[in-house]
Amino acid sequence: MRKVFKIYRPFTHAGVLLAAQYRINFFFFILGDILRCFINYFLWHAVFTSGGEKTFAGFSETDMVVYIFISFLTSVIAYSDGSYAVGEEIRDGNIAMRMIKPIRFDLAFLFQELGERLITITLIFVPMMLGVEVYKFAVTGVIGFNILNFILYLFSLILAYLITFYFNVCYGYSAFILKNLWGANFLKDCIVGFLSGGVIPLAFLPPAVAVTLNLLPFASQTYIPVMMYVGMFDVPTIIYSFALQIFWLIFFIILQQIIWNACVKRMSVQGG
């Protein structure tokens, strides 16, 4: 394990430098996306005022606001450029270069993204997280920060990131078959965004649909960690959710390995 870190640390370093170089651009970009959270905030505020009820599908207004912002943060952290990066390398043929290097393709990418993520965490994640907690305090009058929920959330978030990463790497390989241009990635982001609970909590959907979506890997990418943070899962659900996340992670790691081996074989037989 220590050896792995030693080999791949330069990639993390490169990721940090890369992100730092584009930080101002990145900051404006994220700011544009944060606006969307505020629209949802106001919309839900109006919904709760108009509805007259205290809760919707088990969510109070405070829960809902926390959900909006934490799901945004989760999707910022559990985000991966893997599908674009892999697709790009396949199209321009650089992927062949990866095969002749004595390092693992997936780990090199992973460690580079971790470096970029360090910047995101300090610049966006920590301040917004604090903002959410201050909001909760201002509305309820008690400090609602629950350290246990937070730890569960962090674990779930790490799993969510890894699932997202390997899912995207797998998707990126489809560039070998499809041409994977702009349209396909846009469509994928759109579908994943919805199925992962990024638009609306899955609990709001009809029960049969909600249960099915919960099982799919997408829920593991956003919905599950956020629900851990909000503290709306009971103990059996927490255990079940972790098991589900771990299952999907292993599934995508193995799938990724299978596709990679098939690619290597194909490349060495057909020469790309």
Binding site: F42, L43, A46, F186, L187
Partner: protein
């Protein structure tokens, strides 16, 4: 006569590029189709989201589901038209100036702004246009909009001017790149404010309302003109405001653009 000739020339150039972009679309059929499905799906998910909400509440701040759909559909039209014709402004802030590609526009005997915008006809915008028209088609009969000659004229006028609110915002923010070399993400940030316009401004607090009414006046691209058609009230503010804001932004935009071009002429890249 001279002006007429100029306009004729502008249309002719537009036609050539539109024809080309349509040809290109046929070349990249699959990419266009998946992209278009993505666009449609994004809108469908948003509508679904609204219907989930409205399943639980009778009205939102006094607006019915159909009325919200009308505002939402109205919002898509000017956005799509701006997207269709003025999409290349994004490229100014993202890379044209940074890569030094702006020089060629300065060696053309037409205005730089025209030379830049005519180059691209963004067919992707058809998705938004189609959804917008569908949503209006669904909601108009259900909310009792008065369809008469004056309203049809006012509708066209408000869509036309609302389009230039989008264009104006893009123009001002992308022209910043003449000084900073890069401003694409500033454009993105301001442009994203347009999402606020899809819902009644009454759901926002005073700060947001002030910003989207007077500072980055996207409220005039949808909610205000749409609410005239819903209620028939206050045409001077609702439609007149759209015209005024649009004119102000475009005048300001062209002013900043020209300033930017002369700054570029003295600094180069």
């Amino acid at each position: 006569m001279n002006l007429l000739r100029k306009i004729h020339r502008m249309f002719k150039l537009h036609r050539i590029f539109i024809k080309q972009d349509l040809k290109k679309l046929m070349e990249y059929k699959i990419d266009f189709l998946t992209g278009a499905i993505g666009m449609l799906l994004t809108q469908a998910i948003n509508i679904f989201f609204l219907s989930v909400i409205f399943a639980r509440i009778p009205s939102l701040e006094g607006y019915s589901f159909e009325q919200i759909i009308f505002i939402y559909g109205f919002a898509l039209l000017p956005k799509a038209i701006d997207h269709l014709f003025f999409d290349n402004l994004w490229a100014i802030g993202h890379f044209i100036i940074r890569k030094g590609d702006f020089d060629k526009y300065l060696t053309r005997p037409v205005s730089t702004l025209f030379a830049v915008t005519v180059e691209k006809f963004q067919v992707d915008a058809f998705g938004e246009l189609v959804v917008g028209i569908m949503l209006l088609g669904y909601s108009i009969p259900r909310i009792g909009v008065n369809i008469n000659f004056i309203n049809v004229i006012l509708f066209i006028v408000s869509i036309f001017f609302a389009t230039f609110i989008y264009t104006g915002v893009k123009l001002i923010t992308s022209a910043i790149a003449f000084w900073t070399k890069r401003s694409g993400n500033i454009t993105y940030m301001f442009y994203m404010i347009n999402d606020f316009a899809k819902y009644p401004t009454t759901i926002y607090n005073r700060l947001v309302r002030t910003v989207i009414t007077y500072i980055v006046p996207f409220a005039f691209t949808a909610f205000f003109p749409a609410s005239y058609f819903i209620t028939g009230g206050n045409p001077w503010f609702n439609i007149g405001g759209t015209v005024l804001m649009s004119a102000v932004l475009m005048v300001l935009g062209i002013f900043v653009w020209n300033k930017g071009v002369s700054a570029y002429e003295s600094a180069g890249s």
